[in-house]
Symmetry: C2
Subunit: 113 residues, 2 copies
């Protein structure tokens, strides 16, 4: 995977409207008009967000119908997760240390009581 590809994916995810669009598409394929309904933003703004999502490969627009249905393509989300997974040991490590600390505090508390 080129670094560029991860740039596009993470960049596409860095916006609440775009994440909401993905959440909507997770429920099923829909039209741009339907997609725009819950958002208080203009048609052109939705189109712009869709272009960012398409560039990242997260949304696929059908060509078979005049309304060009939008669908979720989850593959790039797996790529992002694969990159993040390399760091799992670090966050699990810190939670382990927190758990150890809390256990220690609790044990000391019991000894004191």
């Amino acid at each position: 995977m080129t670094p560029d590809r991860l740039d596009h994916i993470f960049s596409a995810l860095a916006d609440p409207t775009r994440r909401a669009i993905l959440a909507r598409l997770a429920l099923g394929t829909t039209s741009v008009t339907e997609l725009a309904q819950p958002f208080d933003i203009s048609g052109p703004a939705i189109t712009k967000h869709l272009k960012v999502l398409e560039r990242a490969g997260l949304v696929i627009r059908g060509r078979e119908a005049q309304w060009r249905p939008c669908s979720l393509n989850a593959g790039p989300l797996k790529e992002a997760t694969d990159w993040l997974e390399r760091y799992r040991q670090f966050w699990e490590g810190s939670f382990d240390r927190l758990a150890e600390y809390l256990k220690e505090v609790q044990t000391n508390g019991e000894q004191d009581g």
Copy 2:
């Protein structure tokens, strides 16, 4: 978690230099000078990248020493992964479908041969 927080995290990850900084910090705490060495960019540019990473909570700068050591803070990477995990069924679903298709193609090929 506020949407804002995920915006900062994903935005911080959408740059190859910032991802490389995190990879370097995964090896251990270091100074900004050492951190800048492998990159062909200016000191101010590194400082700017560090500010974006700090805002996302991914990098913590020590205050105990004059050289203000930089450390990785992996917690926000877990938050990003938690968000992505909601979509796991979608990418696993598509890979399952691909695996089924490939199996089918292979089986048909064997029958033909």
